[in-house]
Symmetry: D2
């Protein structure tokens, strides 16, 4: 019996697509001795966007102090470390949470990235993915650049440093056309905090206000935790500059009005926290509508509706509302499993699920269940869950996926398995149903999804479902 | 602006009563090289019963190896430490999770307690509280005993060591009449694993089976995680002895048949995990029935039912079912807050709540809410929640408590605030309603609670509600 | 090529006998907020007496706060931990450094030992060994005592707790006759600091004064570090009580005047620091005299005198003085090797030596060397050194041991290898010379040693050389 | 009474000049699974050249794995970390120990520096200092380079990356003329290990052989520890390339034959370990000759010669030989003080000395002492020592410094205090004598030093004594 090492990401996301990063920055007009505590809380609220490392950089305009480490936000910043990040007259802070893939899990890659250049010191936090990072990197290396990390944020830092413009905002306008891909970025430099969102707006970025401070964050849920006011989203192609003169906006993209938007639709399905707002829509409400849509499109014969908690809860509520079936708590989630540990491999797959989810026999026994999950990626978790539910006496199990079949990899900052590992990569719904062992399997249609989200198809990225890539990889 | 240090217990339980311990033991008929991994998973499933320290003792009959430390189960056992607990030919393991109060938060107090005596080495794990621990301790000290810890488990160890009987089971029968209070105990010693439950059965203790192993645990949810079979409860006054000959049962209490039982009714309300079974009842179903009872006894005028997650979810479902009102997800819980960290004190109280719970504006805005919480202890959390919900646009807030007013301290292993800190300690329902800022406040009646649980009043302990103490403190 | 784990004790002492403990206590007449820092420095000065763990207990009369951990003094107390040991109005502190043998290397065994009893809280620090610890322990266990540790200090704590006398000093007088063996002990309890030395005075214990504080320590070198004044030794059979009334002395032993003293002669040879005073003699000067004696008794034909640093330096200086040969630095010691680490086993033995000691080729090449080591225990280090010196060009190597052949194990607190591992356990000098590969080998005679130390033979313990045990083991 | 934080560098070197780095690299012709252990031992032997951080990079030609952290070598690599540095088929390793000044004590600065460029991955370890690092850096930044660290090694990495040549050796030849200053560098890249020494040869660099491996190291003492054979020095202006074809040498400097050499003479006085060889001279023997020279030039009237251990020992031996006075151990060194800790400030200065050095009263009392120190930097240590020696009864104290007055700062890789902090910066010998409180003070003359070292004046750097800078700073 061998052992297997469980990372939080495996427990929580192995069978999920997942976001690679959350970013958070504060600019305070008056110096604020508690600014790193604000960032700590903000990152805590964004923890669902990255659980493997966390980092922070504090600035008093003259000096930038940074601390970064592997672990959950509270493991990195819950103890003494926060006190080491104190700077007199601190005005700005920048934070990052990150999910990282195995091979490049080196300390140097933890963000924010802190560099010096002829334009001074700057700290960068990035959510997204540059498709042409490798070719830009090769080009830069050929021009003599050296790289310390393997994150594409460093490519951006080089481009900014090499730009002719003397200041970072102008430099970004000078080089932005070289960047192909998804990026929501916050840059802390000099006496400025800069927020940038790519012209297609793949990943979210929002602006808030708390007392005498402006905040930028990946999601509005960070404002909820701080009691801050949500001002508005950073628009695709927009650059926000916050300095002592206040908040300024500029659209750096040349074709701002013609550029087709490509907001990641999966933010609505799974990534974002239910209390967040994206594109003016509350995520929970969108998911509820998705659940309703799912029920509306199906002939539902189950006795009860059972969500896979927590990510399936909102859709299951909508599904129950629409179908008129009772919403029941057939699965209980252990909220204390979110940290790396070692599992004996025997019965590994089932154990991984059982550590996190357990059925309530009294609820499911003897009944036909409509089990609602937000998505099915590799199919292993739902397969284990179905087995466990049958063992607990479920009579029949109808599985409903609150998203269409995931068929194509994402190139815009989401970690997707190889296409061959995607259960829908090469199989029909019937085949998938058999593989996961359900009595029936229903996927939300892409049209249903778009209609539930309520954004025009040509304003969202649905590439993982239909392969319609807004920016062609490899091009 | 000062700082305040947040322990997980504060974030999760400050406004809750809370269990002080979870215990878990395995006896394997064949040696099992993965026995410490089983215990790790078992403790993980019992983590909700104690978040401040964790410990384990492994035995191969000849040797006992132990590791204990402050922190969550995965912080203590998620890394290298588990590998240091390996023993060749290991047959038994004993584990403990603990919540500890500030003053006695010393490493020596972390369980299991490992001692040597003329009866050999033994390791003890205790859930409960001995009312006469102090007088027994003084008596033992006067007879020359020395104490290394301040936990009452050490009192029991002394009594067992001083008993005339040569073996631990007989020794326990000899001394048990000296013990006044609540105790569910697992003792690992020699080639035996012993389970004990006090004659009144205050705290739960259950028996399970996995492959060639017997397991004892505080709750059946630990069996769920391991995929083990639930056999039965240890009865009040029963001693379970598991050794190479199998599992034996014995009733040590003299008045086994006349002794009135006093199962802690709060296990049903809050402590136990919803998928656990206590006294033959599924905890989730009991809570659902509690919710129904609560709705049945009230005139409900709200628009929607909103649970305080996660502990209010089951009752809210029952409440919605009975009232016919829609169950809605008006509050979102951040599942990544379970670890000590430092909070800036400004707006402290609200921040503590916001780090863990956030409203969904779209759900609650403009509506009258029936907010269902499992219990109200000091009233500060619900007070903050109500403020936050109003800020999010709630029109009216009717609060329903799924337990009666908590008026009296517990002496049987539950950490309760001073009576003066209990919001119901000295106030009428109207006064409490005003203090928490709700439009209306409804408590479940004690009769309603007993009826929902379905156990005779004289078989449960309800002292925290009515002051009817099964064993008088101080006597 | 396997790996081997090197503990500091191995690097420094594997081929040495070594002391098991150093103890240090301070009583301050006025409360002293820096008392734990004093103890830290005192323990640092006694680090040579124990490198595997360190502990401290601070008292303000009402409360005792303690911290203990594995590691060197600065690893345990060099960081944040010292600040956690702060007590308001602290008056007393007790510290301990320990060398521990593998099997019992459990955290519970780290001293000082902190216990509660009917006589209140007390903290004990022990240097020495009770020969009858096991039989006392069995006796105590048969009377119902339980043991948390495997150190004999806990036996003493039990005896004190069980004594009829209400106070610790009287209790000690009541029970001292039960103790057989070597003990220098400091007890911190109530409002008193108590120092005890066994009637034969095996191990040292000294009294000093610094400002408004009395200090007790294993060696006077601790006073040197603090700039404290050395008052006097604690006499064999003496109990020192320091409280608010000052320092009191009492001789608890019944046969104080007839009892034969047995000061460990090895303190002079190796254990004590050269700047310490023992029995009125400066350790360095005694070692110098030992070196002179060694040269006086031999026909020395070497070209130069080479010490094995640091422990052979003082004797080598005396040897050079007496022989008239030049003292030369033929071996260099790396002072940065004092911490556990992993060594590849290939060429293991030589590597272990080379990590710590390296020859100076220019000094030794072509010459006949008189190599002076303080003692030869298992012979492996000197064997490796001789090989290395030959490789560096030494022509001939005459080895001189500044102590007689070590033939018998010590039962009084010194860790000696099994007799079979002692190179002199069963071999003639000629055989040893051949085993270590020297051209000649000369041991100091026991008479020469005693004469150099200048204490009557019947006042010192020389059991490791002649088997003349002052207290018979097993009796 | 405030507290002050003691770094090892303060205890050991505050009153010393000190080396900033030690470097060590191994190239093994066959893959070697223990290559990181070799590096660990090599760094341990070079620990005296840097105590604040340590790092290692291992290569199997395809991949470079690196680990770096603050702390002593055994703190960084004594535990589990070494095992994480394993690479299958490892052929090369590069290590670094570093002393760092306060302000730039950031993790990014720990070496070796690992970077990627168009020329592949490389790892650099540097001992020395580039005088024009800042201007090169500004130039590079102006050309668009970004910097992650504040060490001048990164400047070199940029220059190599930007060079036109495709391979690193050719690139170095292309850019070397831009480098002004002192550098002994080892570069691990591709399938090569490259050693470089600046044309003036300020800092040492040596080549050794062990089994099937070549080794390069700052000092030969690393070969002693490993039992490796010392081959030769890397010459000033030489580039050593070790790859599968063996070891190649090349002189990259254009004016190899005319360039005046400038070996740092302080390596002989203090930096190097006594068993090392520099420029064909054994360091211990040079120091002994320095001591002789010092005695020869003076009228010595003392009773005994007392070294300040360990750095003054070799010179004191020579001094005693020449003067005919007895060499005595008047000061004892505590070898366990080498790690950061907190000291109470009261009597701070004396305490700092006493923690490390203590007088032997019996040796010094009543006598006139010739105290031999290797050098006097700020004068505070010798001042404290003199006070302590007087307290111990010394009658008169003649201080001899084994180096001339240190008057000028070093710009070639040695951390020197501000000139105003140098006791000889602006004072006569008489004034210094009075400031340190000695009865007499004698400095070795520069001519005497050069004569003792035995290298022509124009082949060594003596700038700290005479301000004769081989490369002008600021030029």
């Amino acid at each position: 019996m061998e052992q297997e090492f469980c990372r939080p990401s495996e427990l929580n996301f192995k069978n999920k697509l997942h976001e690679e990063c959350g970013i958070f920055g504060v600019y305070s007009f008056n110096s604020n001795s508690k600014i790193s505590e604000l960032c700590h809380l903000g990152l805590l609220a964004l923890q669902h966007r990255g659980q493997e490392s966390a980092g922070m950089a504090v600035s008093n305009y003259n000096e930038i102090k940074s601390y970064k480490a592997q672990g959950l936000v509270n493991e990195v910043f819950g103890g003494e470390e926060l006190s080491k990040l104190k700077l007199k007259e601190a005005h700005m802070v920048l934070g990052h949470v990150r999910y990282s893939t195995g091979g490049e899990d080196i300390p140097e890659n933890i963000q924010p990235l802190n560099v010096n250049s002829s334009k001074g010191k700057m700290s960068l936090a990035h959510n997204g993915h540059l498709l042409n990072a490798l070719s830009l990197r090769t080009e830069l290396e050929n021009e003599g650049s050296i790289f310390h990390t393997s994150v594409d944020t460093e490519v951006l830092a080089h481009l900014l440093a090499r730009a002719e413009a003397a200041d970072i905002p102008t430099a970004f306008k000078e080089i932005h056309s070289k960047l192909k891909g998804a990026y929501s970025i916050i840059i802390l430099e000099g006496e400025r905090l800069i927020g940038l969102r790519d012209p297609k707006g793949f990943r979210p970025l929002v602006i808030g206000k708390l007392d005498d401070s402006y905040i930028m964050a990946s999601e509005t849920c960070a404002f909820n935790t701080l009691g801050a006011e949500f001002i508005r989203e950073v628009e695709p192609g927009e650059m926000i500059i916050i300095d002592n003169d206040g908040l300024k906006s500029e659209f750096y993209s040349n074709n701002q009005h013609t550029e087709q938007k490509s907001l990641c639709i999966f933010e609505f399905i799974y990534f974002a926290r239910p209390d967040s707002y994206i594109s003016g829509r509350n995520v929970h409400q969108v998911r509820r509508e998705i659940g309703r849509m799912l029920a509306r499109d199906s002939i539902v014969k189950a006795d009860i509706v059972v969500p896979v908690p927590d990510s399936g809860v909102s859709a299951a509520l909508g599904f129950a509302e629409e179908s008129g079936l009772p919403y029941q708590r057939g699965l209980i989630r252990n909220s204390y499993s979110g940290r790396t540990f070692i599992l004996p491999t025997q019965k590994m797959r089932e154990l991984k699920v059982r550590v996190k989810l357990n059925p309530v026999k009294e609820v499911v026994s003897g009944l036909r269940l409509a089990v609602i999950d937000d998505s099915i990626v590799r199919g292993t978790t739902i397969n284990s869950l179905i087995k466990i539910l049958y063992k607990s006496g479920a009579k029949k199990i109808d599985v409903y996926s609150a998203s269409p079949q995931i068929v194509y990899p994402c190139y815009y900052g989401i970690d997707t398995p190889e296409q061959s590992e995607l259960i829908a990569g090469d199989s029909t719904v019937e085949e998938i149903r058999d593989m996961i062992g359900a009595d029936s399997l229903t996927y939300l249609s892409l049209l249903g999804l778009i209609s539930a989200v309520g954004i025009e198809k040509d304003q969202v990225c649905t590439a993982c479902f239909d392969g319609d890539y807004p920016i062609k990889p490899g091009s």
